[in-house]
Amino acid sequence: MAAASISVTLDQIFVLLRDWLVHFLPAALRPFASVVLGVVAIVAVFPGLFALTTVFERKGLGRMQNRLGPNRVGPFGFFQPIADGIKSLTKEDVIPFRADAAVHFLAPLVLVVAVFMGFAVLPVGRNMVLVDMDAGLLFFFAMGASTELSVFMAGWSSRNKYSILGAMRAVGQMISYEVPLLLSSVAVVMITGSLSLTKIVAAQNQYTGIFPHWYVFTPWGFAAFLMFAIAATAETNRTPFDLPEGESELVAGYFTEYSGFKFALFFLGEYLGMFSISGLGATLFFGGWSAPLSFLNVIPSWIWFFAKVMAAIFVFIWMRGTLPRLRQDQLMNFAWKFVLPFTLLDLMVTALWRFMGEGWARWVVCTAILAGAYVLMGRTAMQQKKFGPRSYRYAE
């Protein structure tokens, strides 16, 4: 009994802490103050996570490339983010002479504000969501779509050919992959019957025996998750979809002409985008804050949420250390000729799943359709390619 109550207290510790802090204020101010505390928590926790992730990423990549990574600042180089932060704060803020100063200044602000807004609807734990909106998923995607504009603003206002090329690539890529990103989440909405992220988590927070009802464990959910993961990687401009900022081609892409703290803001925005899209993926397909096995619910819900987010971040880093960059035409072909049709098929299969009712028949039928389509599409796409020895057009 005592153990159970301790686990409940730990689970709700941040909610209790917030209520305890708020009760010192007069009653009229309490709702406002609790929202402010929630915002402060988001603004403090995720950039902190960003600082940790940069050092983990550099050490992880170093490990994959058989080198040490940062190891000079503090124990094992873990104070590296502090040194980086001081460096970016003290660097000169250079604005190119020909740049459009106002738009150049606004671009990083628009990016960071839009990215932070997305966290407002993510349930990071039981009862831990800043705004529980009826249309939470739509809000998340609306904010995500606004980041595209800041990327364009940054690239265009810099008056630099690398910047504008990077911005064009980024915007084209983000628009192309936004369609499958949205459609793969629509599958989840179709089954849950709600756009509210808390309701989506609640629908998955049930157990058969000890196993959870996560959507990723259903045929349509698994397919939707794969498409979502591909589209999310492209949306966050991570390898293998990092064409907009490929260092070997475009210096740094759309933020080539940014230095000092504005560069750090772009960096922050990119990583916060990774956190929020990972959080959304965990919420939609991996049950959000619910535990992977029923008896593991004694561990607080927010630990599960952040564990899932960090696992996704690890996969991002792993892919960056493993995969080469795509070419622009490969990127577009992949989006429009494979990911989008497969997502549309998955929507049909989801509807089928919904109307076939309980039983094993829907498992067999849905898996067969999806697997068959995957193999067929892969085969036909591969047959059109002529694989042979590599030919060099210019280098010989």
Binding site: D134, G144, L149
Partner: protein, 166 residues
Amino acid sequence: MSFVFYLIAALTLAGGLAAVLLRNTVHCALALTVAFAGLALLFLGLDAQFAGFAQILIYIGAVAILVVFAILLTRSSETMQEGVFSKSWFAGLVIAAGVFAVLGWAVLESAHALPFETAAPRVTVRDIGNALVGRYVLPLEIVALLLTAATIGAVIVALHEKERAR
């Protein structure tokens, strides 16, 4: 409510005016997104979450991006040297006033056609979805057909240019 409304309305109008008065075409497009954002905020102020977020998602996330893309691809992003008024400004003014008058008339007349409601209606996203595939399914299908035709048209235009380039 009213103070916030006037603030947002001023922002929207300023964005709209800047979109027609600025010289640099990209600045105009960015000012247009400010107007779109103001409209979305007005929807949210009316407690219409779905319309507000759809406005941001579609108009800022897609339409504004396509506008700036079109500006960049057609090389008209250079600042114009002469004034912002075109030669046919009077005809444009007449057409705009005509469209505004028709829309305003339609909005004002629709107030009589609808039953008077004392309480603000609670409309959830579910209700909107049910209405779209229930009562308004025919307009929805017509729009879908139109969009499909537009997509096929765009693909054909792109194909044609590719063949000509060879």
